[in-house]
């Protein structure tokens, strides 16, 4: 299996980001992991990538409840990003929410690959990475 170049975690919970990063690193499947504390930072990064022709992430793990720009607002901006050079970015919503309305709303969006409920186990991460 080829190595995945880039996974991006967007979550204001530093602890979650840290643990998830550790878990991803331990799989040895990913070259680079980036962490952003809210949607705004992540969007800025993506736009920069496009403008500077830098490689875009393969997978984005997106939290919903974040300050400044939350997951929903991120998804709205994400859809209207300029053309992404034929690159498919898989977005997984990773939230502690178990509310049916959140899950349905996320799954209804074509840009969202799946909804993952926290806590996230190592198996689940492996599953996501191998799904690419």
């Amino acid at each position: 299996m080829n190595k995945i170049h880039n996974v991006t975690i967007v979550d204001d919970d530093k602890l979650f980001a840290f643990i998830t990063k550790k878990a991803i690193e331990s799989t040895n499947l990913v070259e680079q992991i980036r962490i952003f504390g809210n949607g705004q930072e992540a969007i800025t990064f993506l736009i920069d990538c496009i403008n500077n022709h830098e490689p875009l992430p393969d997978i984005i793990l997106l939290d919903l409840n974040m300050p400044i720009m939350d997951g929903w607002q991120f998804l709205e901006e994400f859809i209207v990003l300029p053309p992404r050079l034929n690159k498919k970015i898989l977005v997984y919503v990773v939230s502690s929410s178990i509310a049916e309305q959140d899950i349905e709303r996320a799954k209804a969006l074509s840009s969202v690959s799946d909804f993952i409920v926290k806590p996230v186990s190592k198996d689940k991460i492996l599953h996501v990475l191998k799904n690419l």
Binding site: F16, P67, I68, A99
Partner: protein, 533 residues
């Protein structure tokens, strides 16, 4: 409901059948009376026309048809009904033809029939009154249409209404001695029996059609005000008019008063009766409308209360799903990580992370409990609060913060010095708005906070404005007052303040909103209802 409406349908059908039997019995009796020329029976009321033999035959067939219409469907019945209908139509048509050509078809037929069978009778068959002939034609049509299931009840109702009107018209003519009415269309009047038979038959056919249209108005009396009014008015107007007519006829018979005088009296009485009925119904409608308005108002209030409760419930779900589950899942992940890692230093590092998570869980839980304890306006008592004093008491506890940030505060409560509200809530609302203004200050300036109360009709609008960081209201419009929503990267921000404030405002039926843009400060407005004090 089902059994009730079934009951109504059964009653209607029973009535229709009974009418058929009554008409049948009387018609047979009249037929015999006519045949043997018993004028005592055929012409029962003074000055009235006597019934004709051919009319009584028509009514016998009509009664049979109505009876069969009320029976469960059988092809045989349908043929019979069609036959009766056609025959009745023919009676009507032939009579009209008789008048048009000035001949006596029925008389000739009858005489031939009597001769041929060598019957003994002294009676003769005259032409049926023109209005009766028209009624027969309509009656036959109505019966024929009624035996087809697909016919809309509306056509049959219209036909029956015509028959009923013609008869009632003639009856009124008789009772009030109006020659113009009774002599309308040539000079031959309808006989009183025909009038009554047509009235009963037309009602019978309408009833047979089931619980629709006109019938529905009467059966609906307990459900709609319109039904009640139609029922009462019609049931009063018809008998009263008839009673008046009988009285009038009697009075005339004994020459109690002159004709003009009588007409004047009856016109006046009629107007009085109709006016009384209108007033009575208007009064009833008015009462009903008042009740309705009251119920609607209550309903609107309940809807408001319910929707506020519902939004509280949604907030609660939100808190549980995001703010409570967040720290919980963090704890799970930390313990799992500690379990999995071999590195002792990492274990210790993770252990240190547990405490803040547990603390945050505790905090969220406490906030949740507090927010659930916010009561709505029915459950909590309001009092008159001097706004000046409220602000003073808050500033007392915020003294150190104000000094540290070099903040200055301007208040203007001249328009609305007093606010009728639960004291706990108004203090909490002011505290949250002022501390927000300080928390999100622009560190390059000295904070300036303005608190102004304005009175608009029976509402008081309190505004708290600052010269702080401001926020993008367009971007955050959905989330502004929701729990755990933070709009700045700020260590103190937890996202409870505005949620709590909104809950305390909305529980009392008020509103909260904000005007702001990044860098330009923010103004929060709170609208309080029912402030006419």
């Amino acid at each position: 409901m089902g059994s009730k409406s079934d009951n109504v349908e059964l009653k209607i059908a029973w009535l229709s059948k009974t009418f058929a039997i009554i008409v049948f019995a009387i018609s047979i009796f009249l037929f015999v009376s006519c045949f043997f020329h018993v004028s005592y029976f055929t012409n029962i009321v003074h000055k009235f026309e006597s019934i004709q033999l051919n009319s009584s035959v028509g009514f016998i067939f009509a009664a049979i048809a109505l009876w069969l219409l009320n029976k469960p469907y059988k092809p045989m019945y349908k043929i019979t009904i069609l036959f009766c209908g056609a025959l009745i139509c023919c009676i009507g048509l032939f009579t009209i033809y008789e008048y048009a050509k000035s001949i006596h078809i029925f008389q000739i037929l009858f005489l031939r029939f009597v001769e041929k069978n060598q019957l003994v009778t002294t009676t003769n068959v005259e032409r049926i009154a023109p209005l009766s002939a028209l009624s027969f034609l309509l009656l036959g049509l109505a019966l024929t249409l009624a035996c087809f299931k697909r016919t809309s009840f509306i056509y049959i109702h219209i036909l029956c209404l015509f028959i009923f009107s013609i008869s009632f018209f003639s009856l009124s003519g008789y009772l009030f001695g109006l020659e113009f009415f009774t002599g309308f269309l040539l000079s031959v009047k309808m006989s009183i029996y025909s009038i009554l038979a047509f009235i009963v038959l037309s009602i019978g056919i309408v009833l047979q059609q089931g619980n629709y249209g006109i019938v529905k108005l009467f059966t609906d009396i307990h459900e709609t005000i319109a039904g009640k009014i139609a029922y009462n008015s019609l049931l009063i107007i018809f008998p009263i008019e008839l009673l008046l007519g009988v009285l009038h006829a009697q009075a005339e018979k004994y020459n109690l008063y002159g004709n003009t005088y009588g007409i004047a009296i009856f016109t006046f009485v009629n107007i009085a009766i109709i006016a009384a009925i209108i007033l009575w119904n208007a009064n009833k409608l008015q009462i009903e409308e008042k009740n309705k308005n009251m119920v609607q108002k209550e309903l609107a209030e309940n809807v408001l209360r319910l929707s506020s409760r519902n939004s509280q419930l949604n907030d609660f779900i939100n808190i549980v799903c995001h703010n409570l589950r967040g720290p919980l899942s963090s704890i799970t992940m930390i313990t799992k990580f500690i379990d999995d890692t071999e590195n002792f230093d990492e274990k210790v590092e993770m252990m240190a992370n547990l405490n803040p998570v547990a603390e945050s869980l505790n905090e969220v839980f406490n906030e949740l409990v507090t927010s659930l304890q916010i009561k709505n306006d029915l459950e909590i008592e309001s009092e008159n609060n001097q706004l000046e004093q409220c602000v003073k008491s808050i500033l007392g506890s915020m003294e150190p913060q104000l000094k540290k940030t070099h903040a200055s505060l301007i208040t203007d409560f001249s328009e609305a010095p007093v606010l009728f509200y639960p004291k706990k809530y108004i203090v909490s609302i002011l505290y949250n708005l002022i501390s927000n203004a300080l928390k999100y200050r622009d560190t390059t300036k000295n904070p300036l906070i303005k608190i102004i109360a304005k009175k608009i009709n029976d509402k008081v609008v309190l505004s708290v404005s600052d010269n702080g960081l401001g926020l993008d209201t367009k971007m955050h419009k959905d989330n502004l007052f929701k729990i755990g929503k933070v709009f700045h990267n700020h260590s103190e921000a937890k996202g409870f303040g505005l949620f709590m404030t909104r809950s305390q405002v909305e529980a009392m039926g008020g509103r909260i909103w904000v005007e702001s843009s990044p860098g330009a400060g923010a103004t929060f407005f709170v609208e309080f209802r029912n402030q006419n004090i």
